[in-house]
Symmetry: none
Amino acid sequence: MPVKDCKTEQLIKETAKRIFLTEGNMFATTQDIADAAGVNRTLLHYYFRSRDVLFNMVFKEALTELRERLHEVLGSQLAFKQKIDNLVSVFYDELIKFPYLETFIALQLNQEPAKYEELFTGLPGGKERLKNFLKEIQREMDNGHIAEMKPINFFINLFALMAYPFVARPIYLKMFDLTDAAYNKLLTERKKSIVSMLFKN
Amino acid sequence: MPVKDCKTEQLIKETAKRIFLTEGNMFATTQDIADAAGVNRTLLHYYFRSRDVLFNMVFKEALTELRERLHEVLGSQLAFKQKIDNLVSVFYDELIKFPYLETFIALQLNQEPAKYEELFTGLPGGKERLKNFLKEIQREMDNGHIAEMKPINFFINLFALMAYPFVARPIYLKMFDLTDAAYNKLLTERKKSIVSMLFKN
Amino acid sequence: MPVKDCKTEQLIKETAKRIFLTEGNMFATTQDIADAAGVNRTLLHYYFRSRDVLFNMVFKEALTELRERLHEVLGSQLAFKQKIDNLVSVFYDELIKFPYLETFIALQLNQEPAKYEELFTGLPGGKERLKNFLKEIQREMDNGHIAEMKPINFFINLFALMAYPFVARPIYLKMFDLTDAAYNKLLTERKKSIVSMLFKN
Amino acid sequence: MPVKDCKTEQLIKETAKRIFLTEGNMFATTQDIADAAGVNRTLLHYYFRSRDVLFNMVFKEALTELRERLHEVLGSQLAFKQKIDNLVSVFYDELIKFPYLETFIALQLNQEPAKYEELFTGLPGGKERLKNFLKEIQREMDNGHIAEMKPINFFINLFALMAYPFVARPIYLKMFDLTDAAYNKLLTERKKSIVSMLFKN
DNA sequence: AATGAATGAGGCTTCATTCAT
DNA sequence: TATGAATGAAGCCTCATTCAT
């Protein structure tokens, strides 16, 4: 019985996103996804042709969404500190949705570099905006607002502090015997402290 | 690669470690591993019974090694700052060998929690030592050496700053058009700055 | 291609005939046929219930048409040689339309004999007319117009000389580096020589 | 239980040859072939990697064998008539083994021309030998031994008379209500008459 | 009459694993 | 210890077909 009108395609895609990027289940089969979405497995091929296509589409969309939201912040006219603050907020939103996005990209890039070429070259004006942001970082160092280091390292620190706790969540849950709720509380507290970590005093 | 020669069993295990934990190829088949080791695929089962056993053994060994080295540092009588310094050095050594160790654990924990139970419970006196370290962190905060935050967050920050750049290496290579050598240089520079990030002025 | 316009049913059937019997594409899917006809795949089932029904209908129609035209010639009051001459002409006409008709029947008969039963039993007066023709052949041999052999062999020779060059066309195109046009010219020339092959001097 | 020592590969190939080329079952699945050979389906992939590879290997081998045997005759120093006589014998031997060889090639050439390229270009000195044979035919015409026509048409006639009755066997069995034995007898008689068909008186 | 969505059957292939030597 | 052969499970995908509109 067709239940979802014309939204089955969306349903499958969203389910795949959840399984791949939220739950981090790289090995999910087409059957797993179909079951989770409550649809016939064949429909997955009907709409997306192959698991591979779906897999990549899901990545591409999530990455594009993340990139666009981040670039919006980077391109804004806010003061640097405020910009970072917004960046953290935006990144948190996305990481809650897709904590495994970066991990997967990293894993896949090692294995099939060619396939992910476009994900990095395809952004119009992306490299430029990135360069501008690095310059902005340099300026802040020159002004003494942030510690001296290579701007790229500041950039990496920023994303490390934001992304890593999401990726490593299951480990720390075990390691410190935390509930999901408790860990979420921790993450919220971190949100504020990340900025203070990055800026002097 | 220096491999304990003459022992096929060792050879297979080391090869599997390299493929899984260094190259991050989660999908490597027994054939892939056997080929990379230059041995017959069947030998893998002869020595390790199944892919799964090998897979877990590799994790367990790598994690145990890492844990022991870290605990050695944590349990030492050094001053806190010096301890952190040593920790970074030790962790860097391990991450160079197995950059994907944590990532894989995180990925696997979501999918087969039961299987990784022992990796966290099996450490004698582990939890205790961890608690002591968290207390030590708290003390440093009380002394005003490091910024106020939950000790766990300091702990997570520490590992985020160390681990993330290794895992995300392929992404940043692409994003900033860096060579492997240039990225390695960056990582070395980070090593020093991590400590200064964590401590006040 | 002249197709009975406005009737989708006709269009599908004609397209199927072309694909199966003219182009010899046994493996054509319902999608292939629908695409070639420019209609929705489902219509194929709407009109013909199943691929199988369409497949057989196409055969039956083509075979019936061929049979009727041949029987008309066989049953005519012409002199034997003239009859053969007409037969060749008629058969050529049909082979140009459906070069793979006989090949397919032969292939299918091995695989699903039951299904093609009716194609051979369903011709009213067919066996009789065939027998009469064989007798006519015998008479011609007795009169010394054609070489002595079993009448059936004469019959088979006749059809071999006519049909084989159509079926094997792709092979000879390759083998002798011929264009389609050149091969067609060859076939036209053969038309005349077939009769002279079959009759004495 | 492994029954056939190291000959399983051969067994599978021979079975596939029989099914494809002797029985003319183009649609045979890997399961059909494995069942007929009495082996596990997976072995087919173990030895041949894919159905496609097996399919093509079978064709290539059969065609190569046929070609080599025919070329041997064509290149012999026998008198023309004797040569044709031998050719018929050799071709009969092969057609009894693989009656559908030519039919399949013809069918496949329409659908995947590229794949069969090598089957025609790969024969060393093939084209030349063919040309020489055509010249030989021309000479025989000039000498008045055979009827005047394009040499290629003589060539095609020869193969039509030989090959067609094998391909169309199932049709004529039905059409003339013949047993297999009776049809075989017919074919044997044809063997002699083919030569007399091709030569003047 | 026509169409997009949905489904079940079945094919090909890969993989981990076991057997026999 | 080592290896080629064999096997079962399971995955992906395509296809014919049906449903609902």
